[in-house]
């Protein structure tokens, strides 16, 4: 069976598996997307991490409307809708919801958890918006408190050996994602972006051990496969959030003949560029890797590290153009999308297309027009 088929099969029974695990006394730790929760800590106390990454269907936004006004990122409003409506079974099955507080949109979500669903056990810790020694220290104390919370909640001590074991597993997952992603730097590659994204999205819900196996299979498959026959322009796809269930932009790019060679999203794509060190102070290593080494998302101040990284990616992946896809009202990304195109053009000669979404089904038409036009201009 092919790797993606294995993944789909695994995900089909995932809820049933999680229920069984719960019956056996294991805890399900739910957390919203953003990449700042070290899953290693959850795994090391024999709990199961599940990332809330589903969005794209705007009917859930009506549910959210009873809890928060419209002027927030629709991904986070979707999470509010799923949390409060019971329409996402991953929310219902979670025993504890941990929210790393990044920007004010995650606060909208964590406020809702804290105020409107106090019966659900919850924990928050903060992610600073700047990168310096004090910020690193603050993030570290946050994950140290998280460690204590998880230990108290599960009754399982996160020992050094357990933590090392889970770091190894998560490192392997990151390595495989990296390995697969890097294949796309070449002219001929067999990795379709939609498959890569599906693997990412799947990894947020799947059993970690199973996921690593699936990634190993996939890496082998694509290594041995004939390259994809795509002669369309190479696209660097970036933005705020790429949710599971929000494929419209990728679909249109594909239909138009564009070939996505790299995806950079803070929410929706696992940060896979570096590993967590295994020697020395493991908590400090987690903080270093998850907070300092990881290229910052757009809401960091300044966001130039990410913008420089995008330029680097554009060069390394020989992009012919960049498509910047963001969600409405995510102000950090909106402002950056204003001044970044000039910088990108100056540094790389590349053009950038900016798209915005409120998950409205009818955005597809106007988006198609824009993407088609963009692809045509960069094709020539």
């Amino acid at each position: 069976m092919k790797a993606l088929e294995k993944l789909n099969l695994h995900l089909k029974t995932r809820l049933a598996d999680l229920s069984k695990a719960k019956e056996q006394g294991r805890k399900i730790i739910g957390y919203p997307a953003g990449g700042y929760l070290p899953e290693e800590l959850v795994l090391a106390c024999d709990a199961i991490p599940v990332c809330f990454i589903q969005a794209g269907d705007n009917t859930i936004l009506k549910d959210a409307g009873a809890y928060i006004c419209r002027w927030f990122d629709p991904f986070w409003r979707s999470q509010i809708g799923y949390l409060t409506s019971g329409k996402d079974p991953y929310y219902t099955i979670a025993d504890l919801i941990v929210t790393p507080i990044t920007d004010n949109h995650t606060r909208a979500f964590s406020n809702t958890v804290g105020y409107y669903t106090p019966e659900i056990e919850s924990f928050v810790f903060g992610v600073p918006h700047v990168k310096d020694e004090y910020a690193l220290g603050y993030y570290l104390q946050g994950i140290n408190r998280l460690k204590k919370k998880l230990e108290d909640f599960t009754g399982v001590e996160i020992t050094e050996s357990r933590l090392k074991q889970s770091i190894r597993l998560c490192n392997r997952e990151r390595e495989l994602f990296r390995q697969i992603s890097l294949m796309r730097q070449s002219e001929n590659f067999a990795v379709a972006s939609k498959d890569f994204v599906a693997l990412n999205h799947g990894s947020f819900i799947a059993d970690k051990g199973v996921m690593v196996e699936i990634l190993e299979s996939f890496a082998k498959e694509v290594k041995d496969s004939a390259p994809l026959l795509k002669d369309g322009p190479r696209i660097l796809f970036t933005g705020s959030t790429l949710a599971r269930g929000d494929s419209k932009v990728m679909d249109i790019i594909e239909d138009t003949g564009g070939v996505v060679v790299m995806e950079e999203f803070a929410e929706g794509i696992r940060p896979y560029w570096g590993n967590v060190k295994l020697d020395g102070d493991l908590m400090a290593n987690l903080a270093q890797s998850y907070f300092m080494d990881r290229v910052c998302p757009g809401w960091f101040r300044p966001g130039t590290e990410r913008l420089d990284f995008l330029i680097k990616l554009a060069r390394e992946y020989k992009a012919a153009g960049m498509i910047w896809y963001q969600l409405m009202y995510r102000e950090s990304y909106k402002v950056e999308s204003y001044f970044f195109p000039d910088i990108l053009k100056k540094e790389t000669g590349l053009n950038m297309l900016t798209l915005e979404s409120e998950y409205d089904a009818m955005e597809t038409g106007p988006m198609k027009t824009r993407i088609e036009t963009f692809i045509e201009t960069i094709r020539s």
Partner: protein
């Protein structure tokens, strides 16, 4: 020298000799701001329509804002080292910089533009449109306060600063818009970062780590400011900076007492002028503002003695969150429909439980951080809501008007939960009113009227039946 602006400046509390002294500066500033003789009639009627100019203290407050505007526009000409901070700010660092050197000019330029180009000249729209055209377009719920800053810089009305003190502990928009200015003009930035990662219900408690982090960021920002501005923060900078703010707070307590009267002696539109000034200026504006309060308070004491005021006696009394910074018609709407506003959140803070430092903190930054977290607004959402709850205990109220800013993400977090929370905890009616506090184009007084009027009707009916 022209004198077409004399009458307006006198209306705004300038003495004759002050106008003479400032004449050259006024005209230079007006040229940059695009203000001319053709604007005087509009400004005159706009000020008279929106402010109680029978009160000398109010006229002096308007004058204080004008002085701040002139200093802002001409800061570069005056050879100042210019620092802009993001509103709402932890004002401590700005005050300390200002107190350390007469060569430093520190303010929130957008607030100054709103209160002068908006509230006095009614010419804010072109500035907002320039902000929209330069990185902060309409239709995306972006902060209109920052549109004023970007627009003001883009139009050359206000100088490009030497340093931006980014308030990175509250909103995401502000720092990013500062990044925009940096990308365009290369302005050095000092981010004062913090994370509002309190658990719901935690307020008034907070972890010492939050104080350490925010404090370290403040200290770091001050060090960067010293470097960039080539100044030294004097050892008694904090004490010096407290001189004006202590006078201001003492006067607020006197004001709070007067606002207990029925009828309330002054409109919340005038309180807005006062409170916003204290959060936007570290220089002449706030010093003149304190002087204006010294004049205003005895005037209000007279009103209280005479039993006269801004609304009818017996009007239902509400607390509001914010007044409108640029269009007082929105602020006054509450009073126009027959409600009294004896309490704002600022007055509630001074009247509420006194702030007690939780621990002994080592650095000025940590002392400031401790204070700011204790006062609630930078603590988290439930911190703000609880301060409102406390407000109802400071003085007897009949209801709350929770006007939340649709385009301020931390503020819009209050949109639904505040109403539910306050209604359950206090039993008082709450109107959750979505506004834009810096731009009344989409949220005009007329468009908000139905909701506010209905709320007023509810409160009046309730009060009437309570009496019967």
């Amino acid at each position: 020298m022209a004198d077409y602006y004399d009458e307006l400046f006198k209306l705004c509390g300038f003495e004759d000799e002050e106008i003479e002294e400032e004449r050259t500066r006024i005209e230079k500033a007006f040229e940059r701001l695009g203000i001319g003789p053709e604007d005087m009639e509009t400004a005159d009627s706009w000020v008279r329509q929106n402010h109680d100019v029978t009160l000398k203290g109010v006229r002096k407050l308007l004058g204080a804002w004008l002085k701040e505007l002139i200093d802002l526009v001409l800061a570069r000409d005056d050879g100042k080292k210019i620092v802009y901070f993001g509103f709402p700010a932890i004002l401590g660092p700005g005050l300390m910089l200002s107190a350390s050197s007469d060569d430093v000019f520190v303010c929130a330029p957008d607030m100054v533009l709103d209160h002068t180009m908006g509230q006095i000249f009614n010419k804010l729209t072109p500035i907002l449109e320039a902000g929209e055209a330069n990185g902060l377009p309409s239709g995306h719920a972006l902060c209109s306060l920052w549109q004023a800053k970007i627009g003001g810089v883009a139009l050359g009305m206000i100088p490009v600063p030497d340093l931006a003190l980014a308030s990175s502990y509250y909103c995401d928009m502000g720092s990013k818009a500062d990044d925009l200015v940096t990308a365009q003009f290369g302005v050095p930035m000092a981010y004062i970062d913090g994370v509002m990662d309190s658990s719901w219900g935690e307020y008034p408690d907070y972890l010492p780590e939050r104080v350490h982090y925010l404090g370290a960021q403040i200290d770091q920002a001050l060090k960067k400011a010293e470097k960039v501005l080539d100044i030294e923060i004097v050892p008694d900078a904090w004490e010096k900076s407290q001189k004006d703010s202590r006078a201001f707070v003492n006067n607020l307590l006197r004001l709070l007492d007067l606002m207990r009267a029925d009828p309330v002696p002054v409109s919340v539109a005038e309180l807005e002028l006062l409170e916003a000034l204290s959060g936007s200026s570290t220089g002449r504006g706030i010093r003149e503002g304190v002087k204006a309060m010294e004049i205003l308070i005895p005037e209000l004491e007279e009103r209280v003695k005479a039993g006269t005021g801004a609304v009818e006696k017996g009007a239902p009394r509400v607390i509001t969150w914010v007044g409108h910074c640029a269009d007082p018609r929105v602020t006054r709407l509450v009073e126009d429909v027959g409600l009294a506003v004896p309490l704002t959140l600022t007055l509630a803070w001074v009247g509420g439980p006194p702030f007690k430092p939780k621990r002994t903190y080592a650095t000025p930054g940590e002392k400031i951080a401790d204070y700011e977290l204790a006062t609630g607004i930078f603590h988290g959402t439930d911190g703000v809501i609880k301060r409102f709850e406390m407000g109802a205990k400071v003085m007897k109220l009949d209801g709350f008007i929770m006007n939340y800013l649709y385009n301020c993400r931390p503020d819009a977090l209050l949109s639904h939960n505040t109403k539910k929370y306050l209604e359950e905890k206090t039993g008082l009616p709450v109107l959750a009113l979505e506004i834009d506090a810096f731009d009344s184009r989409a949220y005009s007084a007329a468009s908000l009227r139905t909701k506010v009027e209905t709320f007023a009707h509810m409160l009046k009916a309730k009060k009437k039946s309570a009496k019967e």
